[in-house]
Symmetry: C2
Subunit: 348 residues, 2 copies
């Protein structure tokens, strides 16, 4: 299957490149495998029902820094980030499994803290932890979560399916998790350099919470049901909207045009970005881990969404395949690059 025996560095390929490269050798064969690699979750048919399955692994030093991440929050986030993937298929999560591995640096009390966060997420989202695995590492903490959920067959929403003219809609606001991370990284440096001075994070409470304790938008899936809207395509914002619109565009065979003035920003996100001398729109589009839902809907649903408090129409799909345009407040147009989190590049 793989004939080249030279050494190719993986950094050159990147995470998405590697997944694409590997996925070509794994076409699905069973009739029950409705959707395989390449979307937010896989879809498996069982009788007349459809189950969505999503999995993610988080590695200490790569996905999280325990210097500023409380273990309880980490457990919570490990769950919600996976639930978010089930929501992105327009499904509702029901069960999770959690595998962890850790070194002898961690005490029982530390592991209990982590599981307390997992328990809180299970309670909040009314899902059950039904299995998992625990083992040790030579160093560091690894968490792998798999979430399953049910998707109504008529409401399955993939990344593909967007049509030119469809409205591009975003739940909540974006960029907060990224700016929260900037604050935490800055305060960690200050803490280490200045006699371990305790930081005051209170002015940044919203964005720090967005980073450390993100929520999954099950409420948006339920809201779409109430509004009688089945999106034509959907993805969750884990790598940043700039990256996600490329995924939607590539899978659907469309382009996108978005409007800077429409990008929903919280005031704290805006202020903090300016404080860091960052363009708030650029930070918001490229910052990941907001776990909002980004989806396309037919224009006929415009009236249902236009004044919705938690949904924002930020642009529309176009027939310019491969073109992702940002129309700025100043009246210019820029091509949006996909600068999402690349865990392979960042850490090698």
């Amino acid at each position: 299957m793989f004939e080249n025996s030279d050494r190719t560095e993986l950094a050159a390929l990147g995470e998405f490149g590697l997944i694409d490269h590997l996925a070509q050798h794994f076409p699905t064969k069973l009739p029950s495998s409705l959707l395989g690699i390449g979307d937010d979750a896989a879809l498996v048919k069982l009788g007349t029902k459809v189950m969505a399955i999503s999995t993610d692994m988080m590695i200490e030093g790569v996905h999280f820094d325990l210097a500023y991440t409380p273990l309880k929050h980490l457990g919570y986030k490990a769950v919600t980030s996976n639930l978010s993937d089930i929501c992105a298929m327009n499904g509702l999560p029901t069960q999770i499994t959690v595998s962890i591995a850790f070194s002898n640096r961690f005490s029982l009390e530390a592991i209990e803290e982590l599981y307390e966060g997992i328990r809180l997420a299970c309670e909040k989202y009314e899902i059950d932890l039904v299995g998992g695995d625990t083992s040790s590492t030579r160093s560091g903490l690894v968490i792998s979560v798999t979430a399953v959920g049910e998707v109504s067959p008529k409401k399955i929403t993939k990344r593909s399916g967007a049509k030119p003219g469809d409205l591009l809609v975003l739940s909540g606001d974006i960029g907060g998790a990224y700016m929260g991370l900037q604050i935490l990284e800055r305060e960690k440096r200050v803490f280490l350099e200045h006699n371990q001075m305790q930081p005051d994070l209170e002015p940044y409470d919203y964005i720090v919470a967005r980073q450390l304790k993100p929520e999954a938008r099950l409420d948006v899936v339920r809201m779409l049901e109430e509004l009688a809207i089945v999106p034509t395509s959907m993805i969750d914002v884990s790598d940043g909207v700039a990256s996600e619109i490329h995924h939607l565009g590539k899978a659907s065979g469309v382009g996108f045009e978005i409007y800077e003035e429409k990008i929903p920003l919280d005031q704290q996100t805006l202020d903090t970005a300016l404080g860091f001398n960052l363009n708030p729109s650029v930070a918001a589009l490229n910052g990941g881990e907001d776990y909002e839902l980004l989806f396309t809907v037919d224009q006929k649903h415009y009236d249902k969404i236009k004044n919705h408090l938690d949904l924002t129409i930020i642009g529309h799909a176009t027939d310019s395949v491969g073109s992702y345009l940002l129309n700025t407040r100043a009246g210019n147009s820029f091509e949006i690059q996909a600068q999402g989190w690349n865990h392979l590049k960042e850490n090698q």
Copy 2:
């Protein structure tokens, strides 16, 4: 939920102790969660169907040593060990997800080798890889596999359910994977100490394959179907029969008595154990990773099993709860200790 704030070392608790400790805080609440933590796989109801879900994480330096584990075999084993858990519920696996994380020590070609093993397992067992995750680590390789499969509601077989008098049945032979590991560890030491002399593993081909490339007994699940046998309890032999009978006994509220002369050993396993000055029966009962199925059946099925070439009746369940007796060839009786793999203890 957890009130003690002192530091408790996890080694004292062990892996099973930790799982029991954590599981008490996660009772299942949804009607669809038919079975949660504490068996080989979780069971989730979807419509009229039942899905089994199992997950395992393998960590370099803890679960495998790349000095003697080819990546292709590692990929294969990561899959089959999970499929085995679905079989242990009397189910047949259908889909898997695979998450991997690795350092920049690994080239694209190395990762391709790993996935080639995964692909071979998918092909052999006719299952689909439908999703996963790739990311990086600071050092080492981590693989997390989740398998799902279907269990016929009438054939669900848990660890609980064994009744006193039930026959205790084992598929295949045991101890091979453990003795194969001893050979590989010995040859690694020789290789490192004596000018990197290449080992001759040919005389140990069967047991080395048992260790490096174990199979999952989907065929036994199908065979039970053909024999019209639904076991009263079942578990897969991942930690060693000595450990597994404790799990079955504890879950079912029974004891077990097994007969040394009945323990199925391959000639290579026997010879190699003797070469290492080990009691072959003790090695076979305590060695893990054979991935055979250990199950109990009602005595009425005795005639179907007694002369079966691939199934061996090694003992029976008793009403002496908590008692696990080995009746030796010499006519003595010993209490069997659960000495299974304890990844937490071994590595701290």
